[in-house]
């Protein structure tokens, strides 16, 4: 019973990724694509958690944390590029 629920949630997460993929392909502007990529990152993280429950292992828990960190840093880098044109500045202007 638990396994069926987990597989059902995996299917639902897959549908979420497909919907976000539609936003990446058809997105009219660049920020739409960045938000969709961030959403795919979070969804993938949840799918890894469910897969690690299904496989009854604790070996994937570091992967979840690292994927969260990388998705965060990638989104920040993209949004700094969209706002200012360069990612790492020589000198902070504040």
């Amino acid at each position: 019973m638990t396994e069926k629920i987990l597989i059902l949630s995996l299917v639902l997460f897959s549908i979420t990724i497909i919907v976000a993929l539609f936003r990446i392909i058809r997105g009219p502007s660049m920020p739409d694509r960045v938000v969709a990529l961030d959403m795919i990152g979070v969804t993938l993280l949840s799918m890894i958690a469910i897969v690690s429950i299904l496989l009854k292992t604790k070996a994937f828990l570091e992967v979840i944390l690292i994927l969260g960190i990388l998705s965060f840093i990638g989104t920040i880098a993209f949004s700094k590029y969209l706002e200012r044109g360069k990612i790492i500045e020589r000198k902070s202007d504040s």
Partner: protein
């Protein structure tokens, strides 16, 4: 245009310490569970890159005045040095040893010389990744 990124800077001040703790955990857990020098070095480098993103190159260099090329060189020296240390004891190159040491508070722990090799790998990865990112981001030296 005056930009205001106080939220990014405040979040970075908290999150960098979490990422650094994660890097240290991954480095030390590499013997018995997933982790190790390479991925620990990558997470450490991502924390440094997050600081560069939030504060700019000059401010980070004021607090952390390392030349990352020298850090990569120190890492390679450490990794090959642990290999040659086993030659000095009459063993083959890169032979690793481990001893069990009794610590006063945390009990019996195993100290292995692989940790020094992994520290070399970590320093090399951090130096190489940060050097690449700084050089392609038009900052450079």
């Amino acid at each position: 245009m005056k930009t205001n990124d106080v939220i990014l800077k405040t979040v970075t001040k908290v999150v960098v310490f979490i990422i650094l703790t994660m890097a240290v955990y991954l480095f030390f857990s590499g013997h018995y569970s997933p982790g190790g020098g390479f991925i620990g070095g990558l997470v450490l480098a991502s924390a440094i890159v997050l600081m560069y993103l939030a504060a700019g190159i000059e401010i980070v260099h004021k607090g952390m005045p390392f030349d990352f090329k020298i850090i990569a060189a120190i890492g390679v020296l450490l990794a090959t040095g642990t290999g040659f240390a086993s030659v000095l004891f009459g063993q083959d190159f890169l032979t690793q040893a481990a001893i069990a040491v009794h610590f006063p508070l945390i009990g019996e722990k195993e100290l292995a010389s692989v940790v020094l090799f992994e520290a070399g790998v970590t320093l090399t990865v951090v130096g190489v990744v940060v050097t690449i990112i700084l050089n392609i981001s038009e900052g450079g030296e």
